[in-house]
Symmetry: C2
């Protein structure tokens, strides 16, 4: 996986280059923005929550196997990209809530098409895999 910075830049270049019939698909942006192990799951859990908000600990419970470290890193990235807002309440013990932004919700919706495609083709793909592996 390309580091986020380099890849987004590459995507930007791709996007500006495009005077073709089929505009280049900078969908490596998928990888770089959402393509790591936890990002999409975090966005999705937030989208299901009331007011699209969850505390750190609640998020950690819902995202299945995520470690504290990875959840923190994932949220930092999301915040940096403007897909999530961090609300910090300096109480004791401290409370932190993460909120899905408009743009974050949009990212999730933008994946719906692919979501359906996966659902519709998963079975076929698995058959291809079996066939390929058996032939080996």
């Amino acid at each position: 996986m390309i580091p986020l910075d380099k890849q987004l830049h590459a995507d930007a270049l791709q996007g500006s280059e495009g005077n073709r019939l089929f505009r280049p698909i900078p969908a490596n942006g998928v990888c770089t923005l959402l393509g790591d192990k936890w990002t999409v799951q975090v966005l999705w859990r937030l989208s299901l929550a009331e007011e699209h908000r969850l505390r750190f600990s609640a998020l950690k419970k819902e995202v299945d196997g995520v470690t504290q470290r990875m959840l923190t890193l994932t949220l930092r990235n999301l915040e940096r990209n403007g897909l999530v807002v961090r609300h910090y309440f300096p109480e004791v013990p401290p409370r932190v809530e993460y909120e899905l932004t408009e743009m974050g919700g949009g990212a999730l919706r933008a994946l719906e098409g692919f979501n359906f495609w996966v659902r519709d083709n998963l079975h076929t793909i698995q058959e291809y895999r079996r066939a390929y592996d058996d032939a080996k």
Copy 2:
């Protein structure tokens, strides 16, 4: 990045779990199927080619910085998933062509929504990043 097999399985489970208002987005399938460094680029180049076919060497030229090794690995995976077909001509020197399948083209089209989203939001994202990094 989760190994392809495990993740696809996880996606499958997610998909079958879903009796909710918002169906779970198994879009980690993005990562596992297309989320590595070269896969989407390869699909895209094939989609632009005549008859959606290119020789190995042509593909290598078009995909920018890809190494021979990585192109081979990427194509093997695509073939295994049924997104690409490999045509081997036992001449000397040998000739090999890779062809995008119907399903492979579908995968690319399924990413269009996300593609547009990236294009529309790239600038905003970059501004968020600058702001975040400057605040640091």
